[in-house]
Symmetry: C2
Subunit: 150 residues, 2 copies
């Protein structure tokens, strides 16, 4: 529902913190931002190996990008840890359990009210939440129907 942040905005985050936005970091971020689905670190490393990006660098950069809030960790239908490039602002992923396509949405309005109630009821100071919704996307559903019902 929103697009990933543009590259120059990512670069700005690095610049602002005085962290070099190297070729490898750009390539790694670009890989996640370009995929419209959640991908694992292993997949990214495999894809970028031929581009001359080392495995260790992929791990280090994903860590870095996550710390900077430029990559978000989610898990797919089988519980595998994947990463996605979040769009501008706070949002939540709707993930297809079959092909891992991700659609982002903003559900904060719904959660904010819930959080206020929780804080009042429990005395916790609430500082965050994590919401993922799982489903089957239209194209995977029709593909599946093609298989089963004949």
């Amino acid at each position: 529902m929103t697009d990933p942040k543009p590259a120059h905005e990512i670069e700005a985050v690095f610049r602002q913190k005085g962290i070099p936005f190297t070729r490898q970091r750009r390539q790694i971020w670009h890989f996640f931002a370009g995929a419209d689905r959640a991908v694992t670190i292993t997949e990214a490393a495999d894809a970028l190996r031929s581009d001359g990006v080392g495995q260790a660098t992929v791990y280090r950069s994903v860590q870095l990008l996550s710390d900077l809030g430029l990559l978000a960790r989610v898990q797919d239908g089988r519980g595998e840890i994947c990463y996605i490039a979040p769009p501008i602002g706070h949002s939540h992923p709707l993930i297809c359990g079959v092909c891992r396509t991700v659609v982002r949405f903003d559900g904060d309005g719904d959660v904010a009210e819930l959080e206020a109630r929780l804080a009042a009821a429990t005395g916790f100071s609430i500082y965050g939440h994590h919401l993922e919704v799982y489903g089957i996307c239209p194209s995977c559903r029709s593909a599946r129907e093609g298989e089963h019902g004949e």
Copy 2:
């Protein structure tokens, strides 16, 4: 806000599926159900080793219990994978980022409406969601204030 399922109810789930509820499985489930906080598999294995429960069995049983819906996977403040014994019915965890204490709550009413909107907007068939809320529990907060402000 609700208590974990009682042991006999767990046993009933096993019996119903024709899966043996062995001593080790009981001990493992009991360990998670008895902890009022999220615990890692490693912690469980360490704690149960002296009781004669092998590490491989802990991994296998946690897998099994998760598949049966008797254990839910969450992640703590540092992203570590933990498990908790969910209470009767569907609920969500409110996790303390410091001590990993878990308070369960039922937020399905809030999410159901959101899911309906999402399904309509995206065409996905929604089959589930994962909601965790993070905060600092009252006792960790006062402990922290004791340290800082003097």
